[in-house]
Symmetry: C2
Subunit: 248 residues, 2 copies
DNA sequence: ACAAAAGTGTTTATTGTACACCCATGC
DNA sequence: GCATGGGTGTACAATAAACACTTTTGT
Protein backbone atom coordinates (compact mmCIF):
# COMPACT_ATOMS: atom_id res chain seq x y z
CA UNK A 1 0.00 0.00 0.00
CA UNK A 2 1.14 3.46 -0.70
CA UNK A 3 -1.17 6.31 0.14
CA UNK A 4 -4.83 5.94 0.70
CA UNK A 5 -6.34 2.51 0.78
CA UNK A 6 -7.26 0.77 -2.37
CA UNK A 7 -10.60 -0.71 -1.59
CA UNK A 8 -9.89 -4.35 -2.12
CA UNK A 9 -12.80 -6.31 -0.87
CA UNK A 10 -12.66 -9.90 -0.06
CA UNK A 11 -14.09 -12.31 -2.52
CA UNK A 12 -15.05 -15.95 -2.33
CA UNK A 13 -11.91 -17.24 -0.77
CA UNK A 14 -10.58 -19.81 -3.16
CA UNK A 15 -13.38 -22.26 -2.50
CA UNK A 16 -12.37 -25.63 -3.79
CA UNK A 17 -9.41 -24.28 -5.72
CA UNK A 18 -6.71 -25.24 -3.32
CA UNK A 19 -4.09 -26.87 -5.50
CA UNK A 20 -2.30 -30.04 -4.60
CA UNK A 21 1.05 -28.45 -3.99
CA UNK A 22 -0.27 -26.24 -1.21
CA UNK A 23 -2.03 -28.90 0.78
CA UNK A 24 0.94 -29.87 2.88
CA UNK A 25 2.57 -26.50 3.32
CA UNK A 26 3.16 -24.92 6.70
CA UNK A 27 0.75 -22.41 8.19
CA UNK A 28 1.71 -19.43 10.31
CA UNK A 29 0.20 -16.65 12.32
CA UNK A 30 0.45 -13.30 10.65
CA UNK A 31 -0.29 -9.96 12.29
CA UNK A 32 -0.13 -6.30 11.40
CA UNK A 33 1.14 -3.67 13.83
CA UNK A 34 0.45 0.00 13.29
CA UNK A 35 2.64 2.95 14.12
CA UNK A 36 -0.10 5.54 14.38
CA UNK A 37 1.41 9.00 14.12
CA UNK A 38 -0.06 12.41 14.71
CA UNK A 39 1.18 15.97 15.18
CA UNK A 40 0.23 17.63 18.43
CA UNK A 41 1.48 20.91 19.82
CA UNK A 42 4.98 21.15 18.49
CA UNK A 43 5.80 17.52 18.16
CA UNK A 44 5.09 14.26 16.43
CA UNK A 45 3.28 11.78 18.68
CA UNK A 46 2.62 8.08 18.49
CA UNK A 47 -0.49 6.36 19.72
CA UNK A 48 0.29 3.46 22.06
CA UNK A 49 -1.87 1.16 24.09
CA UNK A 50 -1.31 -0.91 27.17
CA UNK A 51 -0.55 -4.46 26.22
CA UNK A 52 -3.18 -6.70 27.80
CA UNK A 53 -1.46 -10.10 27.75
CA UNK A 54 1.18 -11.71 29.86
CA UNK A 55 4.10 -11.60 30.18
CA UNK A 56 4.07 -7.99 29.01
CA UNK A 57 0.78 -6.98 30.51
CA UNK A 58 0.68 -3.26 31.13
CA UNK A 59 3.63 -2.37 28.94
CA UNK A 60 3.18 0.05 26.10
CA UNK A 61 2.77 -1.37 22.62
CA UNK A 62 1.77 -0.58 19.09
CA UNK A 63 -1.71 -1.70 18.30
CA UNK A 64 -1.99 -4.68 16.00
CA UNK A 65 -4.24 -7.46 14.93
CA UNK A 66 -4.27 -10.85 13.31
CA UNK A 67 -4.70 -11.23 9.59
CA UNK A 68 -7.24 -13.77 8.48
CA UNK A 69 -7.67 -15.18 5.04
CA UNK A 70 -10.56 -12.94 4.03
CA UNK A 71 -8.78 -9.57 4.25
CA UNK A 72 -5.72 -8.13 2.59
CA UNK A 73 -2.80 -6.98 4.67
CA UNK A 74 -3.70 -3.38 3.89
CA UNK A 75 -7.26 -3.88 5.04
CA UNK A 76 -6.10 -5.53 8.21
CA UNK A 77 -3.96 -2.49 8.96
CA UNK A 78 -6.83 -0.12 8.23
CA UNK A 79 -9.15 -2.09 10.45
CA UNK A 80 -6.67 -1.88 13.27
CA UNK A 81 -6.60 1.90 13.10
CA UNK A 82 -10.35 2.09 12.70
CA UNK A 83 -10.94 -0.14 15.70
CA UNK A 84 -8.90 2.14 17.89
CA UNK A 85 -9.69 5.60 16.57
CA UNK A 86 -12.93 5.28 14.70
CA UNK A 87 -11.24 7.00 11.77
CA UNK A 88 -11.58 5.83 8.22
CA UNK A 89 -9.91 6.84 5.02
CA UNK A 90 -6.53 6.94 6.63
CA UNK A 91 -3.20 7.49 5.02
CA UNK A 92 -1.10 4.37 5.57
CA UNK A 93 2.06 2.92 4.23
CA UNK A 94 3.64 -0.47 4.70
CA UNK A 95 7.00 -0.32 6.42
CA UNK A 96 8.58 -3.71 6.86
CA UNK A 97 7.83 -7.30 7.76
CA UNK A 98 9.43 -8.72 10.87
CA UNK A 99 9.94 -12.44 10.67
CA UNK A 100 12.60 -13.63 13.07
CA UNK A 101 11.78 -16.81 14.88
CA UNK A 102 12.25 -15.59 18.43
CA UNK A 103 10.90 -12.07 18.09
CA UNK A 104 7.81 -12.95 20.11
CA UNK A 105 8.97 -15.29 22.82
CA UNK A 106 5.75 -17.19 23.21
CA UNK A 107 4.83 -17.78 19.63
CA UNK A 108 6.03 -17.83 16.06
CA UNK A 109 4.33 -14.95 14.39
CA UNK A 110 5.22 -12.84 11.38
CA UNK A 111 4.27 -9.21 11.66
CA UNK A 112 3.98 -6.59 8.97
CA UNK A 113 4.41 -3.09 10.27
CA UNK A 114 2.51 -0.12 8.83
CA UNK A 115 2.53 3.49 9.75
CA UNK A 116 -0.58 5.67 9.69
CA UNK A 117 -0.80 9.45 9.63
CA UNK A 118 -3.85 10.88 11.34
CA UNK A 119 -4.94 14.19 12.84
CA UNK A 120 -4.69 14.04 16.61
CA UNK A 121 -7.47 16.38 17.70
CA UNK A 122 -10.45 14.36 16.44
CA UNK A 123 -9.22 11.37 18.40
CA UNK A 124 -8.52 13.04 21.71
CA UNK A 125 -11.77 12.17 23.40
CA UNK A 126 -13.04 9.32 21.34
CA UNK A 127 -10.34 6.72 21.51
CA UNK A 128 -11.92 3.38 22.05
CA UNK A 129 -11.59 3.07 25.85
CA UNK A 130 -11.04 -0.65 25.96
CA UNK A 131 -7.48 -0.20 24.70
CA UNK A 132 -6.21 2.34 27.26
CA UNK A 133 -4.50 4.13 24.44
CA UNK A 134 -2.74 7.46 24.72
CA UNK A 135 -0.54 9.70 22.63
CA UNK A 136 3.17 9.90 23.40
CA UNK A 137 5.67 12.42 22.08
CA UNK A 138 8.17 10.73 19.81
CA UNK A 139 11.05 12.13 21.81
CA UNK A 140 9.84 10.35 24.96
CA UNK A 141 9.17 6.90 23.58
CA UNK A 142 12.66 5.56 24.07
CA UNK A 143 12.03 5.57 27.84
CA UNK A 144 8.94 3.45 27.52
CA UNK A 145 10.17 -0.13 27.06
CA UNK A 146 7.81 -1.17 24.32
CA UNK A 147 7.04 -4.86 23.98
CA UNK A 148 8.80 -7.30 21.62
CA UNK A 149 10.48 -5.62 18.68
CA UNK A 150 8.15 -2.65 18.69
CA UNK A 151 11.06 -0.24 19.24
CA UNK A 152 12.60 -1.44 15.98
CA UNK A 153 9.24 -1.06 14.25
CA UNK A 154 8.90 2.49 15.43
CA UNK A 155 12.43 3.28 14.28
CA UNK A 156 11.86 1.86 10.87
CA UNK A 157 8.56 3.68 10.51
CA UNK A 158 10.09 7.02 11.39
CA UNK A 159 12.98 6.36 9.07
CA UNK A 160 10.59 5.65 6.24
CA UNK A 161 8.51 8.72 7.03
CA UNK A 162 11.68 10.81 6.96
CA UNK A 163 12.41 9.50 3.56
CA UNK A 164 8.91 9.95 2.32
CA UNK A 165 8.68 13.53 3.46
CA UNK A 166 11.35 14.46 0.98
CA UNK A 167 9.42 13.20 -2.01
CA UNK A 168 5.77 13.76 -1.26
CA UNK A 169 3.70 16.18 0.76
CA UNK A 170 2.41 14.93 4.08
CA UNK A 171 0.94 17.90 5.92
CA UNK A 172 -2.63 17.22 4.86
CA UNK A 173 -2.73 14.05 6.86
CA UNK A 174 -1.27 15.49 10.02
CA UNK A 175 -2.32 19.11 10.28
CA UNK A 176 -5.73 20.67 10.75
CA UNK A 177 -7.22 22.37 7.73
CA UNK A 178 -5.77 25.74 8.68
CA UNK A 179 -2.28 25.98 10.06
CA UNK A 180 0.52 28.50 10.40
CA UNK A 181 3.90 28.40 8.75
CA UNK A 182 5.47 27.83 12.14
CA UNK A 183 3.31 24.78 12.74
CA UNK A 184 4.22 23.35 9.37
CA UNK A 185 7.89 23.92 10.05
CA UNK A 186 7.68 22.36 13.50
CA UNK A 187 6.06 19.32 11.96
CA UNK A 188 8.99 18.90 9.61
CA UNK A 189 11.47 19.57 12.37
CA UNK A 190 9.88 16.90 14.49
CA UNK A 191 9.86 14.35 11.70
CA UNK A 192 13.43 15.04 10.67
CA UNK A 193 14.64 15.42 14.22
CA UNK A 194 16.60 18.60 13.61
CA UNK A 195 15.97 22.33 13.48
CA UNK A 196 15.28 23.99 10.16
CA UNK A 197 16.10 27.54 9.18
CA UNK A 198 12.94 29.60 9.34
CA UNK A 199 13.64 31.74 6.31
CA UNK A 200 14.92 29.00 4.07
CA UNK A 201 11.99 26.82 5.00
CA UNK A 202 9.44 29.49 4.15
CA UNK A 203 11.21 30.18 0.88
CA UNK A 204 11.18 26.56 -0.22
CA UNK A 205 7.62 25.91 0.78
CA UNK A 206 6.38 28.95 -1.01
CA UNK A 207 8.33 28.03 -4.12
CA UNK A 208 6.27 24.86 -4.39
CA UNK A 209 3.12 26.88 -4.83
CA UNK A 210 1.27 24.43 -2.64
CA UNK A 211 -0.11 26.74 0.03
CA UNK A 212 -2.82 29.32 0.00
CA UNK A 213 -2.40 32.16 2.46
CA UNK A 214 -5.60 33.07 4.26
CA UNK A 215 -6.60 36.48 5.59
CA UNK A 216 -7.23 35.06 9.02
CA UNK A 217 -4.64 35.09 11.75
CA UNK A 218 -4.00 32.72 14.58
CA UNK A 219 -3.48 34.67 17.79
CA UNK A 220 -2.90 31.91 20.33
CA UNK A 221 0.85 31.91 20.40
CA UNK A 222 1.80 35.51 19.83
CA UNK A 223 0.50 39.02 20.23
CA UNK A 224 1.14 39.84 16.64
CA UNK A 225 -0.57 36.76 15.31
CA UNK A 226 0.45 34.45 12.48
CA UNK A 227 -1.32 34.04 9.17
CA UNK A 228 -3.08 30.79 8.51
CA UNK A 229 -2.38 28.79 5.40
CA UNK A 230 -4.11 25.85 3.83
CA UNK A 231 -3.16 23.38 1.15
CA UNK A 232 -4.31 23.79 -2.39
CA UNK A 233 -6.03 20.42 -2.77
CA UNK A 234 -5.31 20.13 -6.49
CA UNK A 235 -1.62 20.88 -6.23
CA UNK A 236 -1.48 18.58 -3.22
CA UNK A 237 -2.97 15.68 -5.17
CA UNK A 238 -0.71 16.42 -8.06
CA UNK A 239 2.36 16.29 -5.85
CA UNK A 240 1.12 13.08 -4.25
CA UNK A 241 0.92 11.54 -7.70
CA UNK A 242 4.02 12.99 -9.28
CA UNK A 243 6.23 13.57 -6.26
CA UNK A 244 8.67 16.39 -5.80
CA UNK A 245 12.07 16.86 -4.38
CA UNK A 246 11.85 18.77 -1.14
CA UNK A 247 15.42 19.25 -0.07
CA UNK A 248 15.43 20.51 3.48
CA UNK B 1 17.34 -7.76 6.82
CA UNK B 2 19.71 -5.24 5.45
CA UNK B 3 22.94 -6.45 4.03
CA UNK B 4 24.45 -9.77 4.76
CA UNK B 5 22.49 -12.31 6.68
CA UNK B 6 22.44 -12.29 10.40
CA UNK B 7 22.83 -15.85 11.36
CA UNK B 8 19.69 -16.44 13.31
CA UNK B 9 19.34 -20.08 13.99
CA UNK B 10 16.15 -21.71 14.92
CA UNK B 11 15.62 -22.58 18.53
CA UNK B 12 13.17 -24.77 20.31
CA UNK B 13 10.06 -23.47 18.69
CA UNK B 14 7.90 -22.26 21.52
CA UNK B 15 7.21 -25.72 22.80
CA UNK B 16 4.34 -25.56 25.22
CA UNK B 17 4.42 -21.78 25.42
CA UNK B 18 1.53 -21.07 23.14
CA UNK B 19 -0.58 -18.57 25.07
CA UNK B 20 -4.34 -18.73 25.31
CA UNK B 21 -4.99 -15.74 23.15
CA UNK B 22 -3.27 -17.25 20.15
CA UNK B 23 -4.98 -20.60 20.18
CA UNK B 24 -7.91 -19.60 18.03
CA UNK B 25 -6.21 -17.22 15.68
CA UNK B 26 -6.18 -17.73 11.90
CA UNK B 27 -3.29 -19.40 10.14
CA UNK B 28 -2.01 -18.51 6.70
CA UNK B 29 0.48 -19.61 4.10
CA UNK B 30 3.49 -17.38 3.89
CA UNK B 31 6.12 -17.48 1.15
CA UNK B 32 9.19 -15.55 0.14
CA UNK B 33 9.96 -14.68 -3.48
CA UNK B 34 13.43 -13.59 -4.54
CA UNK B 35 14.42 -11.14 -7.21
CA UNK B 36 17.88 -12.48 -7.90
CA UNK B 37 19.90 -9.84 -9.69
CA UNK B 38 23.28 -9.99 -11.37
CA UNK B 39 25.30 -7.87 -13.75
CA UNK B 40 26.28 -9.52 -17.02
CA UNK B 41 27.88 -7.94 -20.06
CA UNK B 42 26.55 -4.42 -19.98
CA UNK B 43 23.27 -4.98 -18.25
CA UNK B 44 21.53 -6.00 -15.08
CA UNK B 45 19.91 -9.43 -15.33
CA UNK B 46 17.34 -11.26 -13.27
CA UNK B 47 17.29 -14.97 -12.65
CA UNK B 48 13.92 -16.53 -13.50
CA UNK B 49 12.68 -20.06 -13.54
CA UNK B 50 9.86 -21.84 -15.33
CA UNK B 51 6.88 -22.11 -13.07
CA UNK B 52 6.06 -25.79 -12.62
CA UNK B 53 2.43 -25.68 -11.48
CA UNK B 54 -0.84 -25.14 -13.23
CA UNK B 55 -2.40 -22.91 -14.33
CA UNK B 56 0.80 -21.03 -15.05
CA UNK B 57 2.98 -24.01 -15.87
CA UNK B 58 5.89 -22.98 -18.09
CA UNK B 59 5.59 -19.25 -17.46
CA UNK B 60 8.55 -17.37 -16.09
CA UNK B 61 8.58 -16.62 -12.39
CA UNK B 62 10.70 -15.49 -9.51
CA UNK B 63 11.88 -18.32 -7.36
CA UNK B 64 10.25 -18.59 -3.97
CA UNK B 65 9.50 -20.92 -1.15
CA UNK B 66 7.25 -21.48 1.80
CA UNK B 67 8.19 -20.23 5.23
CA UNK B 68 7.81 -22.69 8.03
CA UNK B 69 7.85 -21.96 11.69
CA UNK B 70 11.46 -22.96 12.27
CA UNK B 71 13.14 -20.37 10.04
CA UNK B 72 13.11 -16.61 9.93
CA UNK B 73 11.91 -14.80 6.85
CA UNK B 74 15.48 -13.82 6.07
CA UNK B 75 16.68 -17.38 6.31
CA UNK B 76 13.86 -18.55 4.10
CA UNK B 77 14.95 -16.05 1.47
CA UNK B 78 18.59 -17.12 1.75
CA UNK B 79 17.64 -20.75 1.44
CA UNK B 80 15.73 -20.01 -1.71
CA UNK B 81 18.76 -18.45 -3.35
CA UNK B 82 21.02 -21.19 -2.09
CA UNK B 83 18.74 -23.90 -3.42
CA UNK B 84 18.88 -22.42 -6.88
CA UNK B 85 22.42 -21.15 -7.18
CA UNK B 86 24.40 -23.00 -4.55
CA UNK B 87 25.68 -19.61 -3.36
CA UNK B 88 25.86 -18.70 0.26
CA UNK B 89 26.66 -15.49 2.06
CA UNK B 90 24.51 -13.49 -0.27
CA UNK B 91 23.64 -9.86 -0.06
CA UNK B 92 19.86 -9.62 0.35
CA UNK B 93 17.36 -6.99 1.30
CA UNK B 94 13.69 -7.23 2.04
CA UNK B 95 11.54 -5.29 -0.40
CA UNK B 96 7.86 -5.49 0.39
CA UNK B 97 5.15 -7.87 1.52
CA UNK B 98 2.32 -8.57 -0.86
CA UNK B 99 -0.89 -9.46 0.88
CA UNK B 100 -3.91 -8.88 -1.31
CA UNK B 101 -6.51 -11.58 -1.11
CA UNK B 102 -6.75 -12.40 -4.80
CA UNK B 103 -3.14 -12.01 -5.79
CA UNK B 104 -2.72 -15.75 -6.22
CA UNK B 105 -5.95 -16.99 -7.75
CA UNK B 106 -5.87 -20.46 -6.31
CA UNK B 107 -4.87 -19.75 -2.76
CA UNK B 108 -4.57 -17.14 -0.05
CA UNK B 109 -0.92 -16.62 0.44
CA UNK B 110 1.12 -13.73 1.75
CA UNK B 111 4.46 -13.24 0.10
CA UNK B 112 7.44 -11.24 1.22
CA UNK B 113 9.66 -10.18 -1.63
CA UNK B 114 13.45 -9.93 -1.30
CA UNK B 115 16.10 -9.00 -3.75
CA UNK B 116 19.50 -10.62 -3.87
CA UNK B 117 22.66 -9.36 -5.53
CA UNK B 118 24.97 -12.05 -6.81
CA UNK B 119 27.79 -12.38 -9.31
CA UNK B 120 26.52 -14.00 -12.49
CA UNK B 121 29.58 -15.86 -13.74
CA UNK B 122 29.89 -18.42 -10.93
CA UNK B 123 26.30 -19.47 -11.51
CA UNK B 124 26.38 -19.82 -15.27
CA UNK B 125 26.96 -23.52 -15.43
CA UNK B 126 25.92 -24.68 -12.01
CA UNK B 127 22.34 -23.58 -11.69
CA UNK B 128 20.35 -26.33 -10.15
CA UNK B 129 18.91 -27.94 -13.29
CA UNK B 130 15.59 -28.96 -11.78
CA UNK B 131 14.40 -25.36 -11.92
CA UNK B 132 15.06 -24.56 -15.58
CA UNK B 133 16.35 -21.21 -14.50
CA UNK B 134 18.01 -18.67 -16.78
CA UNK B 135 19.20 -15.10 -16.66
CA UNK B 136 17.17 -12.43 -18.41
CA UNK B 137 18.23 -8.86 -19.13
CA UNK B 138 16.14 -6.45 -17.12
CA UNK B 139 15.19 -4.53 -20.23
CA UNK B 140 13.54 -7.63 -21.73
CA UNK B 141 11.53 -8.85 -18.79
CA UNK B 142 8.47 -6.79 -19.51
CA UNK B 143 7.77 -9.02 -22.51
CA UNK B 144 7.81 -12.15 -20.43
CA UNK B 145 4.41 -12.31 -18.71
CA UNK B 146 5.59 -13.32 -15.27
CA UNK B 147 3.12 -15.15 -13.06
CA UNK B 148 0.89 -13.56 -10.42
CA UNK B 149 2.11 -10.20 -9.19
CA UNK B 150 5.74 -10.96 -9.93
CA UNK B 151 5.97 -7.99 -12.31
CA UNK B 152 5.07 -5.69 -9.42
CA UNK B 153 7.64 -7.42 -7.23
CA UNK B 154 10.33 -6.91 -9.79
CA UNK B 155 9.39 -3.24 -10.16
CA UNK B 156 9.49 -2.64 -6.46
CA UNK B 157 12.80 -4.45 -6.12
CA UNK B 158 14.42 -2.36 -8.83
CA UNK B 159 12.98 0.78 -7.35
CA UNK B 160 14.46 -0.08 -4.00
CA UNK B 161 17.81 -0.96 -5.53
CA UNK B 162 17.82 2.39 -7.31
CA UNK B 163 17.29 4.07 -4.04
CA UNK B 164 19.85 2.01 -2.25
CA UNK B 165 22.52 2.65 -4.79
CA UNK B 166 22.51 6.29 -3.86
CA UNK B 167 23.35 5.67 -0.23
CA UNK B 168 25.55 2.62 -0.11
CA UNK B 169 28.04 0.89 -2.37
CA UNK B 170 26.83 -2.19 -4.23
CA UNK B 171 29.51 -3.04 -6.77
CA UNK B 172 31.16 -5.67 -4.61
CA UNK B 173 28.13 -7.88 -4.80
CA UNK B 174 27.65 -7.62 -8.53
CA UNK B 175 31.04 -7.21 -10.12
CA UNK B 176 34.02 -9.56 -10.35
CA UNK B 177 36.97 -8.69 -8.18
CA UNK B 178 38.64 -6.70 -10.93
CA UNK B 179 36.57 -4.46 -13.17
CA UNK B 180 37.01 -1.44 -15.37
CA UNK B 181 35.56 1.99 -14.83
CA UNK B 182 33.36 1.45 -17.86
CA UNK B 183 31.92 -1.71 -16.37
CA UNK B 184 31.19 0.04 -13.12
CA UNK B 185 29.49 2.87 -14.94
CA UNK B 186 27.43 0.52 -17.08
CA UNK B 187 26.28 -1.21 -13.93
CA UNK B 188 24.99 2.06 -12.53
CA UNK B 189 23.46 3.02 -15.86
CA UNK B 190 21.60 -0.25 -16.00
CA UNK B 191 20.32 0.07 -12.45
CA UNK B 192 19.26 3.66 -12.86
CA UNK B 193 17.94 3.15 -16.36
CA UNK B 194 19.62 6.21 -17.82
CA UNK B 195 22.98 7.16 -19.31
CA UNK B 196 25.58 8.78 -17.05
CA UNK B 197 28.23 11.22 -18.10
CA UNK B 198 31.53 9.39 -18.34
CA UNK B 199 33.68 12.17 -16.94
CA UNK B 200 31.41 13.18 -14.13
CA UNK B 201 30.98 9.57 -13.12
CA UNK B 202 34.71 8.96 -12.96
CA UNK B 203 35.18 12.15 -10.99
CA UNK B 204 32.59 11.26 -8.37
CA UNK B 205 33.71 7.69 -7.95
CA UNK B 206 37.30 8.70 -7.52
CA UNK B 207 36.36 11.37 -5.01
CA UNK B 208 34.98 8.65 -2.74
CA UNK B 209 38.40 7.11 -2.48
CA UNK B 210 36.86 3.67 -2.67
CA UNK B 211 38.72 2.21 -5.62
CA UNK B 212 42.25 1.04 -6.06
CA UNK B 213 43.64 1.32 -9.56
CA UNK B 214 45.57 -1.76 -10.63
CA UNK B 215 48.47 -1.88 -13.06
CA UNK B 216 46.78 -4.51 -15.13
CA UNK B 217 44.66 -3.69 -18.13
CA UNK B 218 41.65 -5.39 -19.61
CA UNK B 219 42.08 -5.74 -23.33
CA UNK B 220 38.91 -7.50 -24.39
CA UNK B 221 36.89 -4.55 -25.52
CA UNK B 222 39.43 -2.13 -26.92
CA UNK B 223 42.84 -2.02 -28.46
CA UNK B 224 44.12 0.46 -25.96
CA UNK B 225 42.90 -1.49 -22.98
CA UNK B 226 41.24 -0.23 -19.82
CA UNK B 227 42.74 -0.25 -16.37
CA UNK B 228 41.26 -2.58 -13.85
CA UNK B 229 40.11 -1.34 -10.48
CA UNK B 230 39.15 -3.10 -7.34
CA UNK B 231 37.39 -2.03 -4.20
CA UNK B 232 39.28 -1.14 -1.09
CA UNK B 233 37.61 -3.59 1.29
CA UNK B 234 38.00 -1.39 4.34
CA UNK B 235 36.53 1.70 2.77
CA UNK B 236 33.80 -0.46 1.29
CA UNK B 237 32.81 -1.85 4.66
CA UNK B 238 32.97 1.61 6.15
CA UNK B 239 30.62 2.97 3.50
CA UNK B 240 28.30 -0.01 3.98
CA UNK B 241 28.08 0.87 7.65
CA UNK B 242 27.99 4.63 7.47
CA UNK B 243 26.52 5.20 4.05
CA UNK B 244 27.33 8.04 1.72
CA UNK B 245 25.50 10.26 -0.63
CA UNK B 246 26.28 9.32 -4.18
CA UNK B 247 24.46 11.86 -6.29
CA UNK B 248 24.51 10.71 -9.88
C1' DA C 1 7.90 50.28 27.23
C1' DC C 2 8.85 45.78 26.79
C1' DA C 3 8.38 40.97 25.82
C1' DA C 4 7.40 37.49 22.41
C1' DA C 5 6.76 35.55 18.25
C1' DA C 6 6.24 36.80 13.12
C1' DG C 7 8.07 38.01 9.07
C1' DT C 8 11.36 39.02 5.53
C1' DG C 9 16.51 39.20 1.47
C1' DT C 10 21.06 38.97 0.41
C1' DT C 11 25.50 37.01 0.07
C1' DT C 12 28.56 33.20 -0.33
C1' DA C 13 29.99 28.65 -0.95
C1' DT C 14 29.16 24.42 -2.80
C1' DT C 15 27.68 21.30 -6.02
C1' DG C 16 25.86 19.67 -10.35
C1' DT C 17 25.98 19.83 -15.32
C1' DA C 18 27.34 20.29 -19.79
C1' DC C 19 30.62 19.65 -22.95
C1' DA C 20 35.01 17.83 -26.83
C1' DC C 21 39.32 16.46 -27.76
C1' DC C 22 43.55 13.58 -27.61
C1' DC C 23 45.49 8.87 -26.53
C1' DA C 24 46.96 4.19 -27.20
C1' DT C 25 46.75 0.20 -29.74
C1' DG C 26 45.54 -3.81 -32.92
C1' DC C 27 44.32 -4.59 -37.18
C1' DG D 1 46.68 4.88 -41.06
C1' DC D 2 42.51 4.29 -39.26
C1' DA D 3 38.95 2.64 -36.34
C1' DT D 4 37.75 1.78 -31.55
C1' DG D 5 37.01 2.53 -27.01
C1' DG D 6 39.83 4.93 -23.00
C1' DG D 7 40.89 8.73 -20.59
C1' DT D 8 40.91 13.55 -18.99
C1' DG D 9 39.50 19.32 -17.24
C1' DT D 10 37.06 23.58 -17.36
C1' DA D 11 33.43 27.02 -17.28
C1' DC D 12 28.78 28.12 -16.02
C1' DA D 13 24.52 27.64 -13.63
C1' DA D 14 21.82 26.26 -9.96
C1' DT D 15 21.14 25.30 -5.43
C1' DA D 16 21.96 25.18 -0.48
C1' DA D 17 23.44 27.48 3.64
C1' DA D 18 24.38 31.07 6.68
C1' DC D 19 22.90 34.96 8.68
C1' DA D 20 20.02 39.55 11.81
C1' DC D 21 17.01 42.93 12.12
C1' DT D 22 12.29 45.05 12.00
C1' DT D 23 7.28 44.51 12.86
C1' DT D 24 3.19 43.94 15.54
C1' DT D 25 0.57 44.01 19.54
C1' DG D 26 -1.04 42.46 24.23
C1' DT D 27 0.23 43.21 28.70
Amino acid sequence: MYGYADKVFSRQPHAGMKPEYHREEPLLHHTVDCVILGFHRTELHVLLHRFPYKPYQGHWALLGGFVDSSVSLDEAALQTVRRLTGLDNIYMEQVYTFGNVGRVPTERVITTCYYALIPVEPTLDQLSPEYEATWHPISQVQNLALVYDHPAMLDKAIEQLRHRVRFQPIGFELLPEKFTMTELRQLYESILGRPLDKRNFTKKVQAMDLLEKLDEKQKDTSKRGAFYFRFDPERYQQYLRDGFLFAL
